[in-house]
Amino acid sequence: MSPWSALRTVVIFVYVFMLGPILITAAVSFNASNRSQFPPRGFSLQWWQRAFSAEWLDPLVFSFKLGVSTALISTALALPLAFALTRYRFPGRAALVALTLGPLMLPALVTGVGLLQVLQYAGLREYLGFSALLIGHVIICLPFAVRTIAISLQTLPPNLELAAASLGASRGRTLWHVVLPLIKTGIVAGALFAFVHSFTDVNLSLFLVRPGEQPITVKILGFLEYGFAPTLAAVSVITLLLPLGLVAIVERVSGLGDFIYGARGRG
């Protein structure tokens, strides 16, 4: 077998295992009966109609808001952190690295339990729901944003900032006119990773919800206790398409693929 046909076989398998379940789920959502059969029996849109009811739309919108807020806050925190970690040597730097990147190694489940206990001991139970979820999501999404921004800072040509300074640009104007435009894709990528990670998280969210304030993933998990209905298939497809669509749009606008796959020469 030539290397190319071997590669092709691997790629086909990856696609089958990745797309297969998704396509099956999508097909199931069009069942005419209320049983999750594959191949679907008959055709109806009734499950999709239910998926678009408030019962499902509310947690979906909740997840979206949570994801966007998480992405914005993580990115805002990640920017100065990435600067500090890539540019300066200072006492406590190692500790800061561990704190920022630690959650990447830790199971989100543990972070979730920990956060829940802290809130309980501190008598802050009333913050469960959006506020607690936001804090938890920022903690677990921050590493993604810091990493991507740090990488784009490190690939910045070394003398650009000195050149800007010699041309009369203060630190602030150098940041605004030179550094930020050049790490823009890194920032966007970081924010996007944070959003997707937040939107798809269930491990951490499980512990921090309250009635009426739960993300779509937790809602789906809860619903699964009663069995897998075609409604769930429809909801899953929506939950999948939302972040995918967002990634596609951002990719189009900012050339994200270039950043991820390392193509140079784009702003």
Binding site: P157, N159, L160, A165, L167, G267
Partner: protein, 326 residues
């Protein structure tokens, strides 16, 4: 245009000394070269003048005004970097305009001066290109235009030719030197290339181990080196101890003769002859130890010798130079 003065400049990194006791005066409109091997402190000195870091001791005066305490963006000093450091997200014209925008000039003035600067470096018509769409030589010109357009008091050039291929490098040498003379802009040029230094400079400051060894016009540096280091670093040199004094003879100032010359003469044997076209290079072993190199013009007049020939290595008195004791 301004005069630049470095007084007792010193830069330490912890216990490492990068530059120490550097005193240097660069006259108004002068082309001064800092020449030395890598790690000699020349680029550090440039960074200190530009204000990229602060000196440990000493002061920098531009037109008599102390500037060592000023941040780089308040110094009005133009810098051309070795890697050009063009802003990749901006076009050539926007790169050149950058310094003017930072000075908040009105847009029409900026446009006019950018056009003028691009013309000066013969890049008219390429203003809309991005750095990646330009050749190495063109990037170099953009960098030069960007540094000149702000009308800096002093222009600093950090090995700007080292990334160009040989032919282009030789062209740019002449071009930059001509441009500098036309604009009469006080310039400090950093290089490790002695050829560049000799061709381009009004004066050269030879640096070694963080110190300036000698400052002088190219001919002075070459013909009257103040230290053994300078003598060895620029061109090649034959050295001999003679009564406790150090005698230096350039290979092109020595001769191979049948009889000893009135001046310096040692008997020797030709070990190797290198045919270089315009010159012949003889490598000798001298009687009583020691080696010598003689560069003879291939002018048809000088006698030729083959390997193994017994000859006199001779130099007239005026071609023997005594390195001053320190």
């Amino acid at each position: 245009m301004a005069e630049l003065r470095l007084a007792g400049l010193e830069k330490r990194y912890g216990s490492t000394v990068a530059v120490v006791g550097v005193d240097l005066e660069v006259r108004e409109g002068e082309f001064m070269t800092l020449l030395g091997p890598s790690g000699c402190g020349k680029t550090t000195t440039l960074g200190l003048i530009a204000g990229f870091f602060a000196p440990t001791h000493g002061e920098i005066y531009v037109d008599g005004r102390a500037v060592a305490g000023l941040p780089p963006f308040r110094r009005d000093i133009g810098v051309v970097f070795q890697d050009y450091a063009l802003f990749p997200h901006l076009t050539a014209a926007q790169n050149v305009a950058f310094g003017l925008r930072m000075r908040n000039l009105p847009a029409p003035d900026i446009a006019a001066r950018v056009r003028e600067a691009l013309e000066l470096v013969q890049l008219s018509g390429l203003g809309e290109r991005r750095p990646l769409e330009l050749s190495g030589g063109q990037r170099q010109r953009v960098a030069l235009a960007r540094a000149l357009v702000i009308r800096p008091t002093v222009l600093l050039l950090d090995e700007p030719l080292s990334n160009l291929d040989l032919k282009l490098r030789e062209e740019m040498r002449v071009e930059i030197a001509a441009l500098q003379r036309r604009l009469r802009i006080t310039t400090v040029f950093v290089t490790h290339d002695q050829g560049e230094a000799l061709v381009m400079s009004d004066r050269i400051a030879v640096m070694n181990a963080g110190r300036i060894e000698q400052v002088g016009a190219p001919a002075q540096i070459y013909e009257r080196p103040a230290t053994r280091f300078v003598a060895e670093f620029i061109g090649r040199m034959n050295f001999y101890s003679h009564g406790g004094r150090l005698i230096a003879i350039r290979p092109e100032r020595a001769k191979l003769t049948e009889a000893p010359a009135d001046g310096f003469a040692r008997r020797g044997t030709v070990k190797q002859v290198l045919y270089l076209g315009a010159t012949l290079e003889y490598h000798l072993e001298l009687e009583g130890g020691g080696r010598a190199i003689v560069e003879a013009p291939n002018d048809g007049a000088a006698p030729r010798y083959g390997a193994g020939a017994a000859v006199w290595f001779s130099a007239a008195r005026e071609n023997c130079y005594e390195i001053p004791a320190r």
